[in-house]
C-alpha cells in the first residue's frame, strides 16, 4: 500500500462521502464550534449528555476528506460511551495522531477509526483529523 493509499483508505473515502452523525440532535447539552484557520474548514460538535453517558453526538460542518471522515468515525465511536471513556479515547487519539507514525490506535478500542492511523505520518494533516475531536474535548470541558 502506497503512502497515499494508507492515508486515504477506502473506509476514509466512504465515511467522507456518506458521513455518520452529520445532523442536528435534540436537547443539546453542550456544543463547540472549531475552525481550522489555514483552510477555513469548520465543524460544530453537539452532545447530549445524561448523567455520565453521551447519549447522542451530532455534528455539522465542511472540510477535507480526512476531517469529514474523522468526525464521522468519532460520532460512531463515542455515542453511548461514558464521558470518562470518551475523555480517555481522546487522549489516546491525540497521542497517536501526534506520534508521526510511531503509535498506532488500538483496534479493540477504536474499531473502524483505526483507518485514521495513516494521518499521523502527515504532520500537516493531523489538524484535519483532530478538528472534531478538539470540538468534542471543548464540549466535555463545559
Amino acid at each position: 500500500m502506497s503512502d497515499l493509499d494508507g492515508l486515504y483508505q477506502q473506509l476514509i473515502l466512504d465515511h467522507s462521502k456518506t458521513p455518520h452523525g452529520r445532523h442536528p440532535i435534540e436537547d443539546v447539552t453542550a456544543s463547540s464550534h472549531q475552525v481550522n484557520p489555514t483552510c477555513g474548514d469548520e465543524v460544530t460538535v453537539s452532545l447530549r449528555v445524561r448523567g455520565d453517558a453521551i447519549e447522542a453526538l451530532g455534528w455539522e460542518g465542511h472540510g477535507c476528506a480526512i476531517s469529514q471522515a474523522s468526525a464521522s468515525l468519532l460520532s460512531t465511536l463515542v455515542t453511548g460511551q461514558t464521558v470518562a471513556e470518551a475523555t480517555s479515547l481522546l487522549a489516546e487519539f491525540r497521542e497517536a495522531m501526534r506520534s508521526r507514525g510511531t503509535i498506532e490506535l488500538d483496534e479493540d478500542r477504536f474499531g473502524d477509526a483505526i483507518a485514521l492511523n495513516g494521518v499521523s505520518r502527515y504532520v500537516a494533516r493531523v489538524k484535519c483529523a483532530m478538528l472534531s475531536w478538539v470540538a468534542l474535548e471543548r464540549t466535555l470541558e463545559d
Partner: protein
C-alpha cells in the same frame, strides 16, 4: 498640474460632480506585450541557477508550482547574502569605520536598484519586512496623523471619510484598512466582484469622502491583472490617495509606479526571487514626508531631547532600528537577475504559463477555473467539486508537485464565489511546459482517485 497630494477635497470639488464616470479599457489594453516568451533552452538554463529545483520530494522530482506564495531563489541571491556576511557585515548609517561605510554604500545601492526596477527614486523606497508591513506602516502612519500635531492634520481621517478597497483583496490589504477605519471612525467600502471574480467598477463608489483607495494590481487568487489606470483616475478625480498592492505584479510584470500614477505601492522580496524578511513601500516623496512616522527609535531622527524628537525625511523617517541589510542587498541581486532576463520577457512567459494552465484545467471535466477570462499572470486557482483542496494538494504532493491550497488569505473573495477553499498553481520564470502538463495529469488522476469521475 495635479497637486502633490490630496488632502481633504476642496469645497469646489465637493460641489462638483458627485460621481466620476469610469472608463474601463479593454483588459488587455494596459498590458500589450510583444516580447517573446522564454524558450525551453532558456528555461532550462535558468533552472540551473536554482539548486532547489533539482531536489526530490517524496522520491519524485520537485515540481514547484507555489511561486505565488514564495518564489525560489537563484544562486546569485544566495551568494549576495553570504558574501555580505563574509566580507562586509557591519551596521549601516552609523559608525565611521571602513566596513560600516562599505555596508552603507551597498545597502543604499540596493535601494537604488530596487527603486529603478519599479520606476521610483531611491528616496521614495522604504524598506519593510514585506508587503504586509508596508500596508500596516501606511495604515498606522495615517492614524498617527490624527494625533501627531497640526502639521499632519491634512492626512488624518475622520468619521464620514471613506476607505475603498476591493472584494478580492488579500487579507493583508483588507484588515489594516478595517482597523484604520475602526480607529478613526472612517467607513470601509469595497468594489465588488462578479461571479467570475472580476471587479465591477461603479463610479458611485468614488465619492468626495473617499480618502484612500487600496487595491491589488494582480489578484493573488485569480492572477487577473486589475484595471489600474481606471481605478487610479477615478480615485484621483475625487482627491483620494491610491495604495497599490503590487505583490503579485512586481515579480511578473514590468511595473512603473510613476507611469501607473499610484501614490503608494508595496511589494515583497521573497515573491520576486529575493529573500524573506525584506520588502518595500513606495510612496511619492512629498507624501512620505507629509506622513508622521509609524515605528520610532534609532536612525530615523535628527535631534532628540528628553521631551521630543525631530525626524529625518523619508526613507529613514520610516526605518527605525537596525535594518535588514543582507536581505536588501540580496533583493537587489534578485532584481538584477530579473532585469537580465527582461521583465517584458518574464511577463510573456507568465502569460504562456497562464494560458497552458487555464486551457489545460478547463479541458478537465468537472474543474471550475476562477477568473478565467481576465488578462493574467502565470497562476490559476480552481475548484473540483467533490475534492477538497487539501485532498487535491495532498494527492499532488505525493507526486512531488507543490501547490497552494486553502483560501489563500482571501476569505471574502472565496465566500463571494461560493467557495471555502481552492487549489492554486502558480509559476515563475523556471516553470516548464512539462511541469504544467504533469500537474494537469495529476489533477485529472485525482478525480479518479477520489471517485468523482462521472
Amino acid at each position: 498640474m495635479r497637486q502633490v497630494w490630496h488632502p481633504r477635497p476642496s469645497p469646489g470639488q465637493r460641489s462638483g460632480a458627485e460621481h466620476v464616470r469610469l472608463e474601463v479599457p479593454a483588459r488587455s489594453k494596459d498590458t500589450v506585450n510583444t516580447a517573446t516568451p522564454l524558450t525551453e533552452a532558456e528555461i532550462l538554463a535558468i533552472r540551473g541557477d536554482f539548486p532547489i529545483l533539482s531536489t526530490e520530494v517524496n522520491g519524485r522530482p520537485l515540481v514547484y508550482l507555489d511561486s505565488g506564495a514564495t518564489a525560489q531563489k537563484p544562486l546569485s541571491v544566495l551568494d549576495a547574502e553570504r558574501e555580505f556576511y563574509e566580507r562586509r557585515n557591519s551596521a549601516v548609517h552609523r559608525g565611521a569605520h571602513t566596513l560600516a561605510a562599505e555596508a552603507t554604500e551597498e545597502f543604499e545601492d540596493a535601494r537604488e536598484s530596487v527603486a529603478r526596477f519599479v520606476g521610483a527614486r531611491p528616496d521614495e523606497i522604504v524598506w519593510t519586512s514585506n508587503a504586509t508591513e508596508g500596508i500596516n506602516l501606511l495604515a498606522y502612519a495615517f492614524s498617527n496623523a490624527s494625533t501627531a500635531g497640526p502639521e499632519f492634520a491634512d492626512l488624518a481621517l475622520h468619521p464620514g471619510d471613506e476607505i475603498l478597497v476591493t472584494e478580492l483583496e488579500h487579507h493583508a490589504n483588507l484588515i489594516p484598512w478595517q482597523q484604520l477605519a475602526q480607529r478613526t471612525g472612517a467607513t470601509l467600502r469595497f468594489i465588488p466582484v462578479d461571479d467570475e471574480g472580476l471587479l465591477v467598477l461603479d463610479d458611485a463608489l468614488f465619492t468626495p469622502r473617499t480618502r484612500i483607495v487600496a487595491f491589488s494590481h494582480v489578484s493573488n487568487v485569480l492572477g487577473v491583472i486589475n484595471p489600474v489606470a481606471s481605478i487610479v483616475a477615478a480615485a484621483h478625480a475625487v482627491g483620494a490617495l491610491v495604495v497599490l498592492d503590487a505583490c503579485q505584479s512586481v515579480p511578473h510584470l514590468p511595473v512603473d509606479v510613476r507611469a501607473l500614477d499610484v501614490d503608494f505601492a508595496v511589494f515583497s522580496g521573497h515573491k520576486m526571487l529575493g529573500p524573506t524578511g525584506i520588502g518595500a513601500l513606495y510612496g511619492r516623496r512629498a507624501l512620505l514626508n507629509a506622513l508622521p512616522p509609524f515605528l520610532t527609535g534609532g536612525s530615523m531622527i535628527t535631534t532628540v531631547t528628553m521631551e521630543a524628537a525631530e525626524f529625518l525625511p523619508a526613507p529613514q523617517r520610516f526605518e527605525a532600528g537596525t535594518q535588514r541589510v543582507s536581505q536588501a542587498i540580496a533583493l537587489a541581486a534578485a532584481v538584477d537577475y530579473l532585469s537580465a532576463i527582461g521583465m517584458d520577457r518574464v511577463a510573456a512567459h507568465g502569460s504562456a504559463v497562464s494560458r497552458r494552465l487555464i486551457d489545460g484545467l478547463s479541458a478537465i471535466a468537472g474543474v471550475r477555473v476562477l477568473g478565467a477570462s481576465g488578462e493574467r499572470v502565470g497562476l490559476a486557482s480552481f475548484d473540483v467539486p467533490g475534492i477538497h483542496s487539501h485532498d487535491m494538494g495532498q494527492f499532488l504532493d505525493d507526486r512531488g508537485i507543490a501547490v497552494r491550497v486553502g483560501h489563500h488569505c482571501a476569505q471574502p473573495l472565496h465566500r463571494r464565489l461560493g467557495l471555502v477553499s481552492t487549489t492554486r498553481a502558480s509559476g515563475s520564470i523556471y516553470t516548464t511546459d512539462a511541469e504544467i502538463d504533469f500537474f494537469l495529469e495529476g489533477v485529472a488522476d485525482a478525480r479518479t482517485f477520489f471517485g468523482v469521475t462521472p
